[in-house]
């Protein structure tokens, strides 16, 4: 057949050799030199295996891309135009049935899953919240924020400090923490209104570090690096402890044997509800004029100004809404850990949240949810191959950037339509 006749094996071989050589350079020092105390051993075998895998993999890839199917695939990804896909207004997706299904499954998880899986899911949902918050700032409004973890920290510390100093519990601090984080968002927002791109990124990066350093060094308030304990949520006033000084506990009230899993079940369910609420609010916001204004600001700021858009209001609202979502996530993180310390809020967290937004597809809600779970749940599942986790993470990123440079889920949205008889 013509398919094999046109096959260029020499090309495949050259590609494979080049890739193998590169793998040798990259992996040689990392995998080949094994530190053992103060001396090191040289492990040729591991390097050889990896180089062989790369060689064979590249050969197969090269071969595949010369077949008709492979060519079609390359064409498909090469023509991957940027930007969003706009559906006609009032477009309804056929996948709408997925939402109730996911809701029901998500609701049932705490009753079937083990405690370990539940804690992983809680972590996943916390990152969904963080991703959704940053998605407003970076994905929709186009303001690159590298200090997002600062708002997360404010939320978490608000719960812990509110409990210690004001005696307020989880439920009172949940809204207060969100408001506090939103305020912090406004404080950050004002000075950076005139900044764009790289400059904005640097300032926000600094902001995140300032928050962490204040938490570390203001020992009299935050107990510094020692951290501070955070309260558990209560179920209509019932505590989830084994014994409570102030009245009945949850298991005593319901005549259940004590199980530390109940508190995780409860945290999960509350968090699950909050995530859906945030998803719903975000879904509505995008359709509202403020959502359009965010997207317009991302697309072209000068055009926005010439249209008389109040860019102060638009930018601040994006910062504040994003920050308040992170504040919510912080409260859940604190209550889930039962303890907060500044070491949980390093720049790495900001990078991870940004990775969630970028991997998910800037501005795509579904993408952010999927990416948040991928980046938090996958590392847990890969515990057996813990040594290679960062390597796998890197490979995932590289593959993504080659084949899905716009993120996992392509941003599709319905076009806006003017409402009949709508008044300003």
């Amino acid at each position: 057949m013509s398919q094999t006749a046109g096959m260029n094996y020499k090309q495949c071989f050259t590609d494979a050799v080049v890739a193998a050589l590169m793998a040798l350079v990259v992996f040689g020092p990392i995998m080949g030199v094994v530190l053992d105390g103060y001396k090191f051993d040289i492990d040729f075998q591991r390097v050889a295996v990896i180089v062989c895998v790369v060689f064979v993999g590249r050969f197969i890839m090269s071969y595949y891309f010369q077949t008709e199917k492979g060519k079609a695939m390359i064409f498909k990804y090469a023509s991957n135009h940027d930007g969003v896909t706009v559906n006609p207004p009032h477009f309804k997706s056929k996948m709408i049935w997925v939402i109730p299904v996911v809701m029901v499954i998500g609701f049932l998880i705490p009753f079937i899953a083990s405690k370990y899986i539940l804690t992983v899911m809680i972590l996943g949902l916390i990152y969904v919240l963080l991703g959704l918050g940053l998605n407003i700032v970076v994905g929709l409004a186009g303001l690159l924020d590298l200090g997002f973890v600062g708002f997360y920290a404010i939320g978490a510390y608000a719960l812990a400090l509110g409990y210690e100093n004001l005696g307020l519990g989880f439920w009172s601090m949940l809204p207060i923490a969100a408001i506090a984080a939103a305020f912090a968002g406004a404080i950050l927002g004002f000075p950076v209104l005139r900044m764009h791109g790289d400059y904005l990124a640097i300032v926000t990066l600094g902001f995140g570090e300032i928050i962490r350093l204040v938490l570390t060094n203001w020992v009299s308030l935050t107990h510094g690096p020692n951290g501070i304990s955070a309260p558990l949520p209560t179920f209509f006033g019932l505590e989830f402890k084994r014994r409570s000084a102030s009245g009945e506990t949850f298991h005593e009230f319901f005549n259940l044997p004590y199980d530390s899993g109940y508190k995780y079940m409860f945290i999960y369910l509350v968090l699950f509800a909050v995530v859906w609420a945030v998803l719903f609010i975000k879904h509505r916001l995008v359709k509202m004029p403020i959502g359009r204004a965010w997207e317009a600001l991302r697309e072209d700021e000068i055009a926005c100004r010439s249209l008389g858009l109040n860019h102060v209001l638009v930018k601040l609202s994006a910062f504040m809404l994003g920050a308040s979502t992170a504040g919510l996530a912080g409260v859940f993180f604190a209550t889930y850990q039962g303890f907060v310390s500044p070491s949980s809020f390093t720049f790495f967290e900001s990078a991870l949240i940004l990775a969630i937004v970028v991997l998910g597809g800037m501005g795509s809600t579904l993408g952010v949810v999927i990416a948040a779970f991928c980046l938090t749940v996958l590392p847990e599942m890969l515990r057996e191959v813990a040594e290679f986790r960062v390597l796998l993470f890197g490979i995932l990123m590289v593959v993504m950037m080659i084949w899905k440079p716009r993120g996992l889920v392509r941003v599709t949205r319905n076009g806006f339509a003017a409402r009949e008889g709508a008044v300003k």
């Binding site: 930007g83 359009r292 997207e295 072209d300 055009a303 010439s306 806006f416 300003k424």
Partner: protein, 237 residues
């Protein structure tokens, strides 16, 4: 005829550099006024200063009897001034319809459907592409969209910054024909242009700006035959 807008001895500085020097001009209702000048003469600065970006350092911008030089951009935009900015500046990832709807921001959406219909009559090409992303259109179509977007806020005065920028001569001709149609509906237009030939043919009156100062003024026809203008902007023949 009543005066719609008047610049009174307007100075604009970018730091130590003076971009506009004592610029005075008037725009009457129903008129097409053009401002021609070379690159860097200060034409776009003049237009943007109406929206307070940059703020003028001295002088007054009187619009319908009120000094708007210190007002915010959204105040200006919601009081009957609309601008099609230099380089079109449409929203590339938004569809044509969405771009038009963005134009209603200053006044709200109450007339959106009605006005969109009007725009599609004026620009039939846009109706063909109403659900297409704006970045996939040609330069001329994008310019039409930018003008239509500005018209969506029902302006009293339409400000256009170089609508001919980067367009093929035949498309420029089309754009100017459209501007003529828009003007025939009674719209007041202030047109900032480098393409002096087209601009002066269209305009009732014109100003020539050189290095931030108004050098000449007259009717379009007068300026078109003025030797100085011909020398500087029309290739000297």
């Amino acid at each position: 005829m009543t005066t719609l807008m008047e610049f009174k001895e307007v100075d604009v500085h970018y730091g130590p550099i003076q971009a506009l020097k004592k610029v005075s001009l008037t725009i009457d209702e129903g008129e097409i006024v053009t401002m021609i000048g070379a690159n860097g003469a200060g034409k776009s600065t003049l237009l943007m200063s109406i929206f307070g970006q940059p703020r003028i350092s001295s002088g007054e911008i009187i619009y319908r009897g009120e000094d708007i030089s210190q007002k915010s951009a959204h105040y200006v935009a919601s009081h009957g001034l609309a601008q099609s900015p230099e380089g079109r500046r449409i929203f590339p990832s938004m569809s044509v319809e969405e771009n038009l709807l963005m134009g209603t921001i200053p006044i709200g959406m109450q007339y959106a459907n009605e006005d969109m219909k009007r725009m599609f009559e004026l620009f039939p090409r846009l109706e063909e592409r109403r659900n297409q992303r704006a970045s996939t259109m040609s330069g001329g179509e994008q310019q039409m969209l930018a003008i239509a977007r500005a018209l969506m806020s029902r302006p009293k005065l339409l400000l256009l910054d170089e609508p001919s920028l980067g367009l093929a001569p035949i498309i420029v001709k089309q754009i100017f024909q459209i501007l003529k149609d828009v003007a025939s509906t009674g719209m007041t237009i202030f047109l900032v242009e480098q393409n002096a030939n087209h601009a002066l043919k269209l305009a009732d009156r014109g100003y020539v700006m050189v290095n931030g100062e108004i050098r000449l003024t007259g009717t379009g026809a007068e300026l078109l035959v003025n030797p100085e203008v011909r020398e500087a902007y029309l290739g000297g023949h």
